[in-house]
Symmetry: C2
Amino acid sequence: MIYYSYENFKNDARKLIDEVRSFDPEVIVAVARGGLTLAHAMAEGLGIRAVESIRTELYDNDQKRDNICIYGECDLLSHKRVLIVDDIADSGDTLDAIMKHLQGDNPHAEFKTATLFYKKTSIHQPDFTVNEALDWIDFFWDRDFK
Amino acid sequence: MIYYSYENFKNDARKLIDEVRSFDPEVIVAVARGGLTLAHAMAEGLGIRAVESIRTELYDNDQKRDNICIYGECDLLSHKRVLIVDDIADSGDTLDAIMKHLQGDNPHAEFKTATLFYKKTSIHQPDFTVNEALDWIDFFWDRDFK
């Protein structure tokens, strides 16, 4: 297990902000909870005031696979470039479901994803990311407030 | 101007989490952008998965006062106790407008507010807060990513 401190985060978030500038997003969608702190940092760094949030929950459905439910309406009609921000692309199920959901509702817009960490086995590979997750990541927001 | 570091934030957020436990909120509404990092920390500390976000913009309307527009739909129908989280109650206009808007849409629910800082002159005094703002606060999320 790796403790991911605020100092680690600060350095990585700055790298991600620099990477994302080429895309020039107009709005950020934070995936709650994990993406909230990163979305805040990136919105400040990029000078973006329009931040929305979305969240998912997993439910067993008595069959072999889980259902993902998505909560939170995002009003993206007036935006052309949307950045979806989460802490990690682990299995990738969350980002995959959110991308399909938002793209389906907003065929006019271009969506890209940014995360601090990714796994090679994720079914969704982020457009912008910093570190491969080779161990369990203990993010400071998971640890410092309990 | 006071630089408000992550270490300051960590200590204050923990105090706020302890204060808020008596209210036992079911959902957190983050006021974007300023309240996003605090909402994330509080949601982790309180074990709340339901986090939504809302934001406001000020517009001149050619008359003597500004209009506040509120963006972001919050689905609070299934919740009884809602905590609205922002960094600071400065003029208090934002929290006042958001409280009226959400309470109007959700008369069944009880709303309370939590901020890290407040001003004595704010028209909305938070239910839970930590520090009086006697100077301009330079929050780490405003400074560290630019």
